[in-house]
């Protein structure tokens, strides 16, 4: 059964029918937002059953759209928290990515700006590495990007998409080894992105992120994970009731290779490892439960089939 990421948008009336349907079909609801009288469900559903969901959603005026970024956690790396970079363009991009299903976090560097003075500390490096991919938002000058990029990418293991003021060709020319994705002509600007050409640029960033995410999914498919992150999410929600009291918007954040559990590590790591998934196989057997560098959260890294020899 192949699960595909989709977004369901519809009225609040009878939306529980859709939720039950997705769960009955063996799908998972990753995020649920209720905005006024509208419900947005970001979920994984079996590929073969999308037609059925569409048919049942039709009388409710619900819409099912593909959203390849559901179930990914993306770091939008902004060079600082100053007015120079916020709210435009960093927040604009983070928000746009969020609209199509990704969980985006903004990571602002303590010493990101400048040319010679730019740096990346170990905490920032580790936090970025906890994500599925990072989008680096750089400034407008080729010289500065060329000079500081080797420092800012040191130790980063996740795919990086580089956005900057110079054209895409220039960005490719000045970076070696090449990054996983490039979007040119989007550097520092101080106005809201609302004109059509600016929105096209945001679409371009999203397209580049999607391309990199798809590539990563293909890589994962070659050595599949021992358990699907979405399934683990459902299981934790069922077995660890404390998660229901967490007020964060996504207490369980699904990533491509694991999930972030927003509970204190010291108290909950052991019970989490002991959760039985199926046939006596415990979470601790198929996943590494590690402390996250983000607050005192828990990071569950699911091991691939090649390491555990089990897929459940």
């Amino acid at each position: 059964m192949t699960l595909v990421p989709v977004t369901y948008k519809g009225g609040i009336y009878q939306h529980d029918i859709i939720m039950d349907l997705i769960e009955d079909l063996g799908g998972y609801i990753v995020q649920k937002h209720i905005i006024a009288a509208e419900v947005v469900l970001q979920c994984f559903v079996p590929k073969a059953d999308i037609g059925l969901i569409r048919t049942i959603a039709k009388p409710l005026f619900g819409e099912v759209t593909d959203s390849p970024l559901v179930g990914t956690e993306i770091a939008i790396v902004s060079m600082s928290l100053e007015i120079h970079h916020l709210p435009h363009p960093s927040c604009d991009i983070a928000e746009y990515v969020r609209r199509i299903g990704a969980k985006s976090n903004m990571v602002s560097l303590a010493r990101g700006p400048g040319k010679r003075i730019a740096g990346l500390n170990d905490e920032e490096r580790d936090v970025i590495n906890e994500h599925d991919l990072a989008v680096y938002l750089m400034g407008n000058f080729e010289t500065c990007i060329e000079y500081k990029m080797p420092t800012l990418r040191r130790g980063i293991e996740v795919p990086i998409i580089l956005c900057g003021g110079p054209s895409e060709e220039a960005l490719r020319r000045i970076t070696d080894p090449p990054f996983d994705g490039y979007v040119g002509n989007v550097g520092r600007f101080m106005r809201r992105t609302k004109e059509s050409d600016q929105l096209d640029k945001l679409d371009e960033i999203v397209a580049e992120i999607t391309r990199v995410v798809e590539k990563k999914r293909d890589d994962i498919a070659k050595d599949p994970l021992s358990v699907s992150p979405a399934r683990l999410m459902d299981l934790i929600r069922e077995k660890v009731p404390a998660i229901l009291d967490v007020t964060s918007p996504t207490p369980l954040t699904v990533q491509m290779r694991g999930l972030r559990v927003k509970l204190p590590f010291d108290t909950f790591a052991a019970p989490l490892r002991a959760i039985e998934i199926e046939d006596g196989i415990k979470v601790g057997d198929v996943a590494e439960v590690a402390p996250s560098r983000m607050r005192d959260y828990i990071l569950v890294k699911i091991l691939p089939f090649s390491e555990t020899n089990t897929v459940i």
């Binding site: 400048g114 110079p166 106005r191």
Partner: protein, 193 residues
């Protein structure tokens, strides 16, 4: 950019110059400074690195009086002020409290202020000076240029006088010959530093 008489951004990287022109325009527009700046020349060299902005300022008469944003209507022992623009409401209320005392000033809603038992002539009230925006002008200009300049350029030297200003920023210690560079840029806009 019609308001500026001269506006140029000079940079070895043409695309960077174009972006910075846009940034400067947006920031000055956001801070309502386009009316104030007459000529502006920005020079950026990311290789050095250095950011220089030189320019001239317009003379502005900017004293804001009560009559500029409020209608003063005397009626049966009380004076009603109908406010059309809230920007200076707070300094005006403060002024009234000091002059007449809090018990004589009342604000029933956002756009109305009533004065009770005030002996002052309504015309005199209209002529009361509420604020002088030019007091904060230099502060606003410096803030705006800090926003325009690349963020890493934290070592600054700025000179703001009545008619001219220069703003130099870099991330390294400023070179000793930076004055010559500033003078060169002033010459481009036909001024002397």
């Amino acid at each position: 950019m019609a308001a500026l008489e001269y506006f140029e951004v000079e940079c070895p990287e043409p695309l960077g110059a174009e972006y910075y022109r846009q940034i400067a325009n947006d920031v000055l527009l956001d801070h309502n400074l386009l009316k104030v700046v007459e000529k502006l020349h920005i020079y950026i060299d990311p290789k050095v690195p250095v950011f220089i902005a030189v320019g001239t300022l317009r003379k502005i008469k900017t004293i804001v009086r009560v009559g500029d944003f409020a209608n003063v209507n005397p009626l049966e022992g009380k004076i009603t002020l109908v406010i059309s623009d809230e920007t200076y409401l707070a300094p005006m209320l403060k002024l009234f409290w000091e002059k007449f005392g809090k018990e004589h000033v009342e604000q029933p809603d956002r756009f109305t202020v009533m004065l009770y038992d005030v002996k002052m002539d309504p015309r005199e009230i209209e002529a009361l000076v509420v604020a002088d925006p030019s007091e904060s002008l230099f502060r606003d200009l410096i803030y705006a240029f800090r926003c325009i300049a690349p963020e890493g350029f934290r070592l600054r030297r700025e000179t703001f006088a009545k008619e001219k200003f220069s703003f130099v920023a870099s991330e390294n210690t400023l070179a000793e010959d930076v004055d010559a560079l500033v003078a060169e840029k002033f010459a481009l806009i036909g001024e002397k530093p």
